[in-house]
């Protein structure tokens, strides 16, 4: 494409097919403790 550069190779709606396994880290356990930072976690299945 001439006008667009897409940064992702996958989109989040693809994860709908599998559903959640629930094994991922609880977000507040990482470093924050005072905000909610779900989006910067990594999926346990993709580590």
């Amino acid at each position: 494409m001439k006008h667009v550069k897409t940064l992702n190779t996958q989109t989040m709606n693809n994860s709908l097919k599998k559903g959640g396994c629930g094994e991922c880290q609880t977000s507040c356990q990482s470093a924050c403790k005072t905000s909610c930072t779900v989006g910067n976690q990594t999926c346990e299945q993709k580590k």
Partner: protein, 463 residues
């Protein structure tokens, strides 16, 4: 739903539902803006209709040539067809399942010591905040907490336990004994404990460092940045600053962990709104994993972030993002927790819809074994859910937390960042609005900015 913004010379288009991120030229940016905002998302078939191009030429023809507009529209149509642009929100139909889902407890925050050897001005463990009840958790209470976690974790294998405070190192023997107990139990019960500890470093020594490196998956080291900033907010009870004692210990610990699996974590307040300098100070001290959080305080606290501080805070995030790109390119890169975003391997939709897990998957345990939805609710009796002896005795509190999501909050519905913060921190919402079913507005503004910066950094580094 589309979110478009320009930052550091990049034209960025985020398709909110798919999470697809596109860096586009000016023309395509304007074409997408002209096509979005309708009641329904455009479809690829709709975009191929001749009248769409005609309307675009009418709108944008003064600035761009007709053939160029046609070309850009073809790109937009291709992305739409591929499910990377103008994706309809189908997640809301899943929300009933999210609310009804059976949850297991997978993480505990153990308040191992409601006592501290520092007197940080903003601390929620400070005298009075814990209703004056200073206490250390006994091994017996801690053991029951781990037993409670195992018993309520269903088939979940990875269990997280954070040793928190106050200052956990003031009750270190109990931490060591609980880790040993956890290691023994995980073999018997087919579980795996991931232990973490948060410390101010005052009591850190070689022996403790070795134990941390052997047993702790992550360690959070509290420091606010530059000496004067840190020592103003994080003094000893005598008033003396803590920086000089702590920094060398933290540097040694971070190096001994190969600069991995730790965070140097600070808090910024309205008294150091130039907080990007504190993050760069961390980098200059040799740290590579860092976090600086906006303070959470009562609006009447002199150091609390106010709405009028937001323009300066936004500027700081922008400045930090630009410096991070530059340092990365120079081979001196570092991680800033709030700019971490994994566009390919981030959390699944189910996780993004279910939020942080407080009150359901994540609970805090007081030194005497009471259970609260998270560490920020500790001491607020209306949120007392049960105890490690009897388990959850007020399941209605968990139900309330479980029902809270990005579709249950009006402010989240129209927000582009909703799948990155998952509705934000419920403790902050309660603190400012008296209900968990709201959002902390100043926090939302900062969160949106951080998501924008994080994506912009990805764009810059993809060049």
């Amino acid at each position: 739903m589309i979110h478009q913004y320009q930052n550091n010379g990049y034209n960025i288009v985020l398709d909110v539902v798919s999470g697809a991120v596109h860096v586009v030229d000016e023309l395509c940016y304007d074409v997408i803006a002209a096509l979005s905002g309708g009641a329904k998302e455009p479809t690829a078939a709709g975009l191929r209709k001749p009248e769409v191009l005609e309307e675009l030429v009418q709108k944008l023809g003064g600035r761009y040539g007709g053939d160029d507009i046609k070309d850009a529209l073809a790109d937009v149509t291709e992305l739409t067809e591929a499910g990377q642009l103008f994706v309809e929100d189908t997640y809301e139909s899943m929300i009933d399942d999210v609310k009804k889902r059976k949850t297991v407890v997978k993480a505990l925050c153990l308040h191992i010591a409601h006592d501290c050897n520092l007197a940080c001005r903003y601390c929620f463990a400070e005298e009075g905040e814990y209703h004056g009840r200073r206490a250390l958790m006994s091994f017996e209470v801690g053991k029951k907490a781990l037993d409670f976690l195992i018993a309520n974790s269903g088939s979940r294998r990875n269990l997280e336990v954070d040793f928190f405070g106050g200052e956990p190192l003031m009750n270190w023997q109990v931490v060591e004994d609980l880790v040993a107990y956890g290691r023994q139990q995980e073999k018997l019960r087919d579980k795996h404990f991931r232990f973490t500890v948060t410390t101010n470093g005052v009591l850190l020594n070689d022996e403790i460092q070795e134990f941390i490196n052997q047993e702790m998956d992550n360690v959070v080291l509290s420091l606010d940045g530059r000496r004067e900033v840190n020592d103003h907010m994080r003094p000893f009870r005598s008033g003396k600053g803590s920086y000089d004692l702590i920094v060398p210990k933290f540097q040694k610990l971070a190096d001994s962990r190969n600069q991995e699996k730790y965070y140097i974590r600070g808090t910024f307040t309205r008294e150091n709104l130039d907080f990007s300098e504190d993050i760069l100070h961390f980098a200059d001290l040799g740290f590579t994993q860092m976090s600086i959080e906006p303070v959470v305080g009562d609006a009447s606290d002199p150091y609390a972030i106010r709405e009028e501080d937001l323009p300066k805070i936004m500027e700081e995030y922008d400045k930090l993002a630009r410096v991070m790109i530059q340092r990365e390119k120079e081979g001196k890169g570092f991680q800033f927790f709030h700019f971490m975003i994994d566009l390919d391997g981030g959390p699944c939709v189910a996780k993004r819809l279910s939020g942080c897990g407080s009150g359901t998957e994540y609970l805090a345990v007081t030194p005497w074994g009471d259970l609260y939805p998270c560490h920020q609710f500790v001491g607020q009796e209306e949120f007392l859910m049960g105890n490690v002896e009897d388990g959850i005795i007020k399941p209605e509190i968990a139900d309330d937390f479980r029902s809270c999501n990005v579709y249950s909050k009006e402010k989240c519905r129209g927000c582009f960042a909703k799948f990155y913060c998952s509705g934000g921190c419920m403790a902050n919402a309660y603190h400012f609005h008296g209900t968990i079913h709201d959002t902390y507005d100043i926090g939302c503004e900062m969160q949106r900015k951080r998501v924008e910066c994080a994506i912009m950094i990805k764009a810059a580094l993809a060049e």
